[in-house]
Every structure is written in C-alpha cells, then in structure tokens.
Symmetry: C2
Subunit: 184 residues, 2 copies
Amino acid sequence: MKLSSQAQAFVLHFGEMGSRWGFNRTVGQMFALLTIHSEPVNADQLAEALKISRGNVSMGLKELQAWRLIELHHQPGDRKDYFTAAGSIWDLARTVFEERRKRELDPTLTLLRQLLLTDPRDPQEAQAQERIQEVYSLLEMLDQFANTLSKLEHKDLIRLMKLGSGLNKLLDLKAGAKSKKTNS
Amino acid sequence: MKLSSQAQAFVLHFGEMGSRWGFNRTVGQMFALLTIHSEPVNADQLAEALKISRGNVSMGLKELQAWRLIELHHQPGDRKDYFTAAGSIWDLARTVFEERRKRELDPTLTLLRQLLLTDPRDPQEAQAQERIQEVYSLLEMLDQFANTLSKLEHKDLIRLMKLGSGLNKLLDLKAGAKSKKTNS
DNA sequence: TACAATTTTCAGAAATTTCTGAAAGTTAAG
DNA sequence: CTTAACTTTCAGAAATTTCTGAAAATTGTA
C-alpha cells in the first residue's frame, strides 16, 4: 500500500477537512484512501498506509459503516475483512448529503417541535416562541427540500445542478403558469 | 437578561449542535441567544446569560462577525457595543449557507485543481488521478449549484423549496423541451 | 473441541480545542 | 493630556476529543 504523492496529498487534505464534514481526521483519511483506491483494502493496509494504530482503524471503519460509506468484501482464501468505498463518487456524495441532513437537521427539528408545544407564559416568552417558530418553519422546509433532492434520479439531479441561471427562468415560468391559472 | 426555560433550551441545543455547524459550543449559544432575542445585547449581558467569561464572549463575537452573522449597534449615551443577529432568520440561514460553502468546498477545490495539474507518472497514479478528477468535477458542480441557489431571490427560493415532487415534473418538462428541440 | 487468525473494545495517554482572567490595548469624554 | 469605560488578547488551565496498544471477544478451520 504505497501512496503516490498525489494520493498522499488527497488523503491528508481530507483528513484536515474531516472535522468540517462531521468526522475526525483519521476517519477522513480512511475515507479518502478508500475513495481513490479502487481495489479492496484491509485494516492492516489502512493502518500501515496512514500510520495509525490497528485499534483506531477498527473504530474508523465502524464509523464509516455507520455513515454507509464503505462496503465489506472478502477475498477467497483470506480471512481478513476487505473494504471499498460504497459505490460511485456520486453515490458517496448523496450518502454524505443524506447523513448530514439527518445528523444536522433532525435533532434540531425534534427539539423545536417540543419547544413549540408548551404555551408561552408571558409576552416576553411569546416573542421568543415566535422566533423559534420561524426557525422551525425554515428548517422544516429545508429538510423537506433536502429530501426532495435526495430522491431525484441521477439524471434529474445533474440537470438541476447544471441549470445555472436557467433555474430562474424555469421558476418564473412555473410562477407564470400558476398565476395564469389563479387569475383565469 | 433572564432567559425563559424555552429560550434556555433553545440556546443550549444550539450550543450542542454548534460543532456540527462549524463553530464551538459558546459561539453556537451566543448565536442562538442573539437570534431569539430581538433587542440588542451587549457583551456583559451575554457573559452573564451564558455564564461564560468576558474574554470568551469577545472571541465569540469576533467569530460571529467573521461569519457575518451579527451586527454592531450603539445605544445613545452608552459606550458599550451592542449586537443583534444580522437580519431575518432567512438572511441568517442564507449567510450560514454561503459561509459553509466557502469553508467546506473552496479549500478542497483549490487543492484538487493543483493535484490535477501534475501529470501522472505511472498507471497506478493515472488511476488515482481519474478518481480525483471525478471528485473535482462533482464538487465543482456542487459549488456552482450552491452559488446559483445563493443568488436566487427570496420568493424564487421559497418557490423552489416548496416544489416537492413538482420538481421532478418541472425538470422533465425542461428535458422534454430540450429533446424536442434536439430531435427536430 | 482446540486453536490460530482476526476484529473489537476500552482504559489511559496524547493531542487538540476551548475557556478563563488578568494584563494590555483602545476609545471617548472631560 | 488624563482618566475611566470598555474591548481585545493571549498564556496557561480545563475540558474534550482522538489515539494507542494490550486484553477480550469473535470467527473460521481442523
């Protein structure tokens, strides 16, 4: 498991960005390595390539499995577990997107829903609840939208992402149609 | 600066989610507090309400300013600095979105661009570069799309987010039009 | 069943991040 | 200027997160 300097740089960078993406340095590195390396890799190889302990690799793999980002394989005649990234680059990106939605939005939505159940006791509290309601509505809409995006077929997603300023036109078109319908 | 138990819960939760959003606990709490509290608040009030040191508040405010999430105000006859959240809930969400795009995507795009400049030395390296190219293309497209979304007017953004499964239809419509044009 | 290969766990160590509070810096009023 | 009010800085302390490596658990083979 020798990494080219290119691969090395890629892996180290993903390690550094890891924390902004929701996992720690070594998990980021493991993910990067499995992403550029198309052949299945076992835990010892990961530990050696990244110069980290076997225990750390084990924990990292567990986390990547929780994220649904890796797949387990077996080589005939070898008892070791081998791993690859789970699917194409696009599959991985979609999974990261979905998991982040879950982890970054859902807990907050749950809490805010609870907070909105109890009635405000005084005007001060009523005002705060109004703000909480606004935050809730926004996050709820965002969550729904993220869900909609997640469900798009690949070709539709690409189409959407490539629209650029065409998105504006498309939305205006839609708005035009609607107001026509409403007005007639 | 007494916080109702509602507000308290809201603030504490944002503190806990903070790390997933890209800032630390106290910065998350400060942001939450400024978000529900419509009146301007000064540093001492923040320190007292959140039970954190004055120095910590100062650092937190600096960071929130770097995120463009707060606004400085002055009260006549008072030399203290007062702060409010920068704009409406939607303004704040858009700013967080833009800043996160910058912080989570741009550094990676820059690095990958560099990696793709040097030619691969062997087939092994060529293969890794192919993967890097795929990652780059995806992130570049994502970055552009995020940019497009950032630039949408409020009403268009809402429209888009509310489309739900209508998004599918709209995209198919667009595809239909295009293929018609292409085929004719 | 016995055993060897492999993975997982987890207590403590190491590294990193966050926080405090006192000192230094800045600003405005008199 | 001088002084008082306020803000920022930053070294070290505290808290948290990550990592190691040895022991325990699991798994497959003979």
